[in-house]
């Protein structure tokens, strides 16, 4: 059993690196999308609010696997073709961005109205009050929910195996098939996913302590 691991370490390690790359890129993408769409949703401009709402309802409610298949094999029919790796990053970021948006929006709404009113009283514009007063306070309460989203992205990246992206699950399936040790390989990949998720959670806790207000 151990030689299955040692002989195929290269393949599996490559898979781990790809999983980390997809997770990192898609998570950053999701947070950026989340903040932008959340700002849309709280903005005073009705069309932007509507656009934000449509985005969230569309991407929050479509299964990631369906989206992956549609982007990988459907879009090329209308002339849009991304590499399979990019497809995985885009889809994960798009779906997780919808969830991140609601996290950010809840964070923004969690900041008391008095803060926004005070900012406006000082003559700040919408953008100024958002970036200097509201978001810094909102981010503090969003850390743990964002950890949830990070874990969702890391675990969701395993679905990229279904469109032949050479990440951890794909590598594990490949090795499992070659060595007829599929269950062992699924166990190994499960452990790696747990470690990635725990590291994400740990980073979240550190960040939360750093951001805590000393009262």
């Amino acid at each position: 059993m151990i030689d299955v691991l040692t002989e195929n370490f290269g393949t599996l390690w490559q898979g781990v690196l790809t999983t980390l790359a997809i997770t990192a890129l898609a998570f950053v993408g999701a947070v950026v999308i989340g903040i932008v769409v959340a700002v849309f949703r709280v903005s005073p401009i009705p069309p932007l609010r509507a656009l934000g709402a449509v985005y969230v309802e569309l991407f929050r409610n479509i299964p990631l696997l369906s989206l992956l298949i549609l982007v990988a094999y459907g879009l090329p029919y209308v002339g849009i073709s991304f590499s399979l790796f990019t497809t995985a990053v885009i889809c994960l970021a798009a779906v997780s961005g919808a969830f991140a948006c609601e996290t950010v929006r809840a964070g923004i709404n969690g900041v008391s109205v008095g803060q926004a009113e005070a900012a406006r009283a000082l003559g700040m514009t919408f953008t100024q009050s958002l970036t200097r007063v509201i978001l810094p306070q909102a981010l503090r309460t969003m850390v743990q929910p964002l950890v949830n989203i990070f874990i969702g992205v890391a675990l969701g990246s395993s679905l990229a195996a279904a469109v032949a992206v050479n990440e951890l699950t794909y590598a594990a399936q490949q090795v499992g098939n070659r060595t007829a040790e599929s269950m062992l390989l699924f166990l190994i990949s499960a452990v790696v996913y747990i470690v990635i998720a725990l590291l994400g959670g740990g980073a979240g806790s550190v960040l939360e302590r750093r951001l805590a207000v000393q009262r």
């Binding site: 401009i45 009705p46 069309p47 932007l48 509507a50 656009l51 449509v54 298949i69 549609l70 990988a72 094999y73 459907g74 879009l75 090329p76 029919y77 209308v78 849009i80 073709s81 399979l84 279904a162 469109v163 032949a164 794909y170 399936q173 490949q174 499992g176 098939n177 070659r178 060595t179 007829a180 599929s182 269950m183 699924f186």
Partner: protein, 329 residues
């Protein structure tokens, strides 16, 4: 009277913004509809295959005409007796494998060479004319485990015999010799055989032993493994890969339903499919091998081949591979 373009100064800014977003929405909705339509079209191609190619009534007759074991043979074999008492064979396989094991979504009927063999075995053991099956969908990841933990009695799933797998399960057979061929888009003139695949992107199915052989014959090829036939085809048709390599019969059947694709070159490999059974009870493999010998001798094997794989591969049924001839069987 010529219509002048609307001046930006008279249109209120809110309206432009709304128009813009509505137009964008419309465009993406149209793109999504198109994408869905083309995907649906692929699905229809493959499902039409079983409907049009396999003549269901003669297929059923082949199963019904299959041999049955006498009571003493079954009762003397604990593995077979359990199946007879249950009244149906618990088998593992696919329902999305053209020619071998494919479910017609309209009728729910499973047909194909693998499916037919499983039914013939069920007919042999239970004596029932329709050869009842309880199908468990297996994937490449689960075949060995489902046999080992007793969920299924047999696996008929274009299951290539390999020495690694033979450590986990016993292989009866081989019952079929597969040869991989190369499929490309019909307008492709640069790839004419497996050796032209060097430096190209190639799709094959996960779990097939094809990937290893491409690596041997065309070491410079980049191989991507997709879950099933439909996805390999989608990857080829959307130019994600330059070629698709799998058993020739599957490729020919794809090319018959889709004229934008063609099969090039001759089969370049020998791959032996076996019937996976438990290793714990040696009676299982012996029993299945005895049955296989009977259906090969009485012509059921050849008739089933004609009704399934033979609908796309020209010529008479080939001679089945010699039982026990593959390493691991």
């Amino acid at each position: 009277m010529p219509t002048s373009p609307p001046s930006p100064f008279v249109v209120p800014p809110g309206l432009t913004a709304r128009r813009f977003s509505r137009r964008r929405l419309g465009a993406s909705a149209a793109a999504a509809t198109l994408a869905l339509a083309s995907l649906a079209a692929c699905g229809n191609d493959t499902s039409a295959l079983t409907g049009s190619n396999t003549d269901v009534s003669s297929y059923d007759q082949i199963i019904a005409a299959g041999p049955t074991a006498d009571a003493a043979t079954v009762d003397g074999n604990a593995w077979a007796k359990k199946i007879k008492d249950r009244g149906s064979l618990n088998t593992g396989g696919s329902d999305a494998g053209p020619l071998f094991s494919m479910k017609d979504p309209a009728t729910g009927k499973l047909t194909g060479f693998d499916a037919g063999l499983a039914q013939l075995l069920s007919r042999y053991i239970t004596g029932k004319e329709d050869g009842p099956l309880t199908l468990t969908i297996t994937t490449v990841d689960t075949r060995e485990t489902l046999i080992q933990n007793g969920t299924v009695d047999t696996v008929f799933a274009t299951y290539s015999i390999t020495p690694e797998r033979a450590k986990k399960v016993a292989f009866a057979g081989p019952y079929y010799r597969s040869g991989d061929a190369v499929m490309v888009k019909a307008d492709n003139t640069t790839i004419n055989s497996v050796t032209d695949l060097d430096g190209k992107k190639v799709a094959t199915q996960q779990g097939s032993t094809t990937a290893a052989r491409i690596a041997k014959d065309a070491p410079g090829a980049t191989v991507s493994l997709f879950p099933d036939d439909a996805q390999c085809l989608a990857a080829l048709k959307t130019d994600r890969v330059d070629a698709y390599v799998i058993d020739q019969s599957i490729l020919i059947s794809n090319a018959t339903t889709d004229k934008t694709l063609k099969v090039v070159g001759e089969p370049f490999s020998n791959d032996f499919y076996g019937i996976g059974v438990t290793r714990d009870d040696p009676q299982a493999k012996a029993f299945v091998n005895d049955w296989l010998e009977k259906i090969e001798a009485d012509g059921s094997w050849a008739k089933l081949w004609k009704a399934t794989v033979g609908t796309v591969v020209a010529g008479e049924a080939p001679a089945p591979p010699k039982i026990g001839s593959a390493e691991g069987s």
